[in-house]
């Protein structure tokens, strides 16, 4: 069947080549094995997606629009798995010896490994060739995919951390019902009141180490002047990082911060006054919560929050022609109109600068101020993630496990952070340094 498809593919690629003659560079003709050739396609653009934010319908809607404009170069949406890990698994299998897709969804953690191992293509030249204006992407979101002076991904389903507050409890605690704490010190002052107002339940619920506590804590550690790493140098043992860890451990011990496997639903049933979660939870909580709530920035001083979520990348092993087509398609998926459609359907953040000026989007944001918080925070309170979490293999799970240890495990902060420091350095030396 595949051999038939390959045959069809060659014919299709020929057709496509004539259709967009003039745009193609390099590898006309020549077997797939020839240098710079790469795999020929089947004449359709294969997009492997895990549909972040339950977005299959809206993805298909965008694809339908593309297909109407480009009948010679249709896009096919392929279910790439239930989550980013599964999608990575499927892509890795294809790398090991299958037909490569044209576009994949890559998470904040997976994209770098693909880029570092040359599994995905640098996009800068392709942007130039396809006439894509990369500066129209929101700068911080675009720069999240920069490595060694090149970009390896395009922001797509991008999220950030947010605070959610139960307004009933804020009011009961005698606090203003329209703002969150400005600093973690202020949170510590509020916490006893919030705990008391809610029958002894924690003031703030955060997910545990198996559910990305390492992502949520990242903003907190920054506000203390610490970090997981400075570029490739681990920074866990910096006194300021340890201070942040100690703060987390003490707040947990005092019952101010609660840690749960399912923080969302614990907050949703009134199990805490506040919640530290992703923007991605907004839609679900709006439907599920039986009380009024607000979203706020994470406490400062800025930056107090990090970005996350997924981007789109292009496999390196496909032909130049396919790469170029993929670039154009990605540009289309993330153009102003489509990023608005996509983000309104899912709760992610628009990735183009001019999206917020769009009248339709303006009206939407006015109606849903909770969605506005994330977009505003993006410009004012966020920074790219630390290498130790997103670029070091297994970084997230390692740090998450460490944070579990100092909170629910009650272990010594300094000791745990020292271990994180040395493990991170070891992994860097073993897995990353030889490739740089």
């Amino acid at each position: 069947m595949i051999s038939r498809r390959n045959l069809l593919g060659l014919a299709g690629a020929g057709l496509a080549a004539t259709a967009i003659a003039g745009c193609t560079g390099g590898s006309t003709g020549g077997a797939a094995a020839s240098s710079g050739g790469g795999q020929k396609g089947s004449g359709t653009i294969q997009w492997w997606s895990n549909h972040p934010g339950s977005s299959k319908e809206v993805e298909q809607k965008i694809i339908d629009a593309w297909n109407a404009e480009n009948p010679n170069l249709p896009v096919q949406l392929v279910d790439g798995g239930a989550n980013y890990e599964e999608l990575g698994q499927k892509f890795n299998a294809a790398l090991a010896g299958g037909d490569l897709p044209d576009v994949i969804v890559a998470s904040d953690v997976t994209w770098f490994n693909f880029a570092l191992n040359e599994a995905t293509a640098p996009l800068d030249d392709l942007w130039k060739e396809a006439g894509v204006d990369a500066s129209s992407y929101v700068d911080t979101l675009r720069e999240d995919y920069a490595y060694d002076g090149k970009h390896y991904g395009v922001p797509f389903a991008r999220s950030t951390t947010l605070m959610y507050w139960n307004q009933d409890i804020l009011a009961k605690a005698g606090l203003a019902a329209d703002k969150g704490p400005q600093s973690w010190a202020e949170f510590a002052e509020w916490a006893p009141k919030l705990v008391e107002a809610n029958g002894g339940k924690p003031a703030l619920m955060v997910p545990d180490g198996s559910n990305y506590l390492d992502w949520y804590f990242q903003g907190m550690i920054w506000t203390f002047g610490g970090s997981y790493s400075k570029e490739w140098t681990p920074n866990f043992t910096d006194p300021k990082s340890i201070e942040a860890g100690t703060f987390l451990a003490e707040q947990f011990k005092a019952g101010h911060i609660g840690i749960a496997k399912d923080a969302n639903n614990t907050f949703g049933i009134g199990g805490s006054a506040g919640l530290l979660q992703s923007t991605g939870s907004l839609g679900g909580l709006t439907k599920a919560a039986q009380f009024p709530f607000i979203t706020t920035y994470l406490p400062g001083p800025k930056p107090g929050a990090c970005t996350g979520g997924a981007g789109l990348a292009i496999p390196n092993g496909i032909s130049d022609e396919r790469k170029l087509n993929a670039t154009k398609f990605i540009d289309f998926v993330t153009n102003t109109k489509n990023t608005i459609t996509f983000t309104q359907a899912t709760g992610y953040m628009p990735v183009r600068k001019d999206a917020v000026d769009d009248p339709e989007e303006k009206a939407y944001l006015e109606k849903t101020p909770n969605a506005m918080t994330a977009i505003k925070q993006l410009a004012e309170n966020t920074a790219p993630q630390d290498y130790a979490r997103v670029f070091i293999p297994g970084g997230g799970a390692r740090i998450g496990g460490g944070l579990d240890k100092i909170t629910i495990g009650g272990q010594d902060v300094e000791q745990v952070f020292e271990q994180l420091q040395s493990e991170t350095a070891t992994v860097y030396k073993r897995d990353i340094e030889p490739l740089l």
């Binding site: 279910d79 037909d99 909580l285």
Partner: protein
């Protein structure tokens, strides 16, 4: 004795039923009702809409058809191969018999996490991606069933097999007339376990299937889960119930065969 039996029965029912019950009622709950404190035992309000939601959002009929095709073919092939292999190991004399048997059984020790990458490359090079052949063939080898059936064959009364040998009965006739009639309960158990395993295959079909044309239920239904943020578990549980019920029906039918099979065997024996 009977009283203790009934008490034990009640206890077991309670232990097993409660989580099953929660799966079923969750499939009939709205999202706020699923996570309420304290737990609600009865859905309030009743939300049968979760089921129609599943039907509307995913190609349920197509996935069901694919699951049936894959499961039925794999089960037939595996039961046949398992019985054949077991017959050879239990009744025939040939060189390296024990070593070959160990080779078959040791296949149970290889977790699929380590075979997928290598097999994917092979299947892709054969052009079998996104086909039923590509999903079925790599899963068709049977270790569990060969082991189970051989074990059972060895427990059969030796006199009967001896009699069959003396008659010079042919292989097929020995199998059908002598061996299988005394083996139905075990064959049914083998079939049931195989059905369940193949019905629930996830990792391999997920890697090989690209489109709905060959995607089976467990892979198709993962779309109901959220990747980031909040999963609405109502529809997910509805999908689980819909996936589980067909197998339970088959089980109900087959478990009767298990008993009938025994009586038939007893008469023969």
């Amino acid at each position: 004795m009977k009283v203790i039996g009934y008490l034990g029965l009640a206890l077991v029912v309670a232990m097993i039923l409660v989580p099953v019950y929660f799966i079923v009622v969750t499939s009939l709950k709205t999202q706020p009702d699923i996570y309420s404190d304290p737990l609600t035992w009865i859905p309030n309000p009743l939300q049968p809409g979760n089921y129609s939601y599943v039907m509307e959002t995913v190609n349920f009929g197509t996935y069901l058809r694919n699951s049936i095709i894959i499961t039925v073919i794999l089960t037939v092939v595996q039961v046949a191969l398992g019985v054949m292999s077991a017959y050879a190991f239990a009744f025939l004399r040939f060189p390296f018999r024990n070593a070959l048997f160990l080779v078959v059984v040791a296949a149970l020790m290889v977790p699929n996490q380590i075979t997928i990458i290598s097999n994917y490359a092979l299947v892709a090079s054969l052009g079998w991606r996104n086909t039923f052949v590509g999903i079925i063939v790599p899963l068709a080898g049977v270790a569990f069933g060969a082991f189970l059936m051989r074990n059972h064959f060895l427990s059969l009364p030796k006199e009967i097999m001896e009699a069959a040998r003396m008659d010079g009965t042919s292989f097929l006739r020995t199998l059908w007339r002598v061996v299988l009639p005394m083996s139905w309960p075990t064959v049914v158990a083998f079939t049931l376990i195989t059905l369940v395993n193949e019905w629930n295959q996830y990792l391999w079909p997920f890697l090989i299937a690209d489109t709905d044309v060959v995607t089976p239920l467990p892979v198709g239904l993962t779309r109901l889960q959220q990747n980031e943020g909040l999963t609405n578990w109502g529809p997910v549980m509805a999908g689980t119930v819909l996936t589980t019920v067909p197998i339970l029906i088959v089980y109900l039918i087959l478990q009767k065969r298990m008993i009938k099979g025994l009586t038939a065997g007893a008469v023969k024996g």
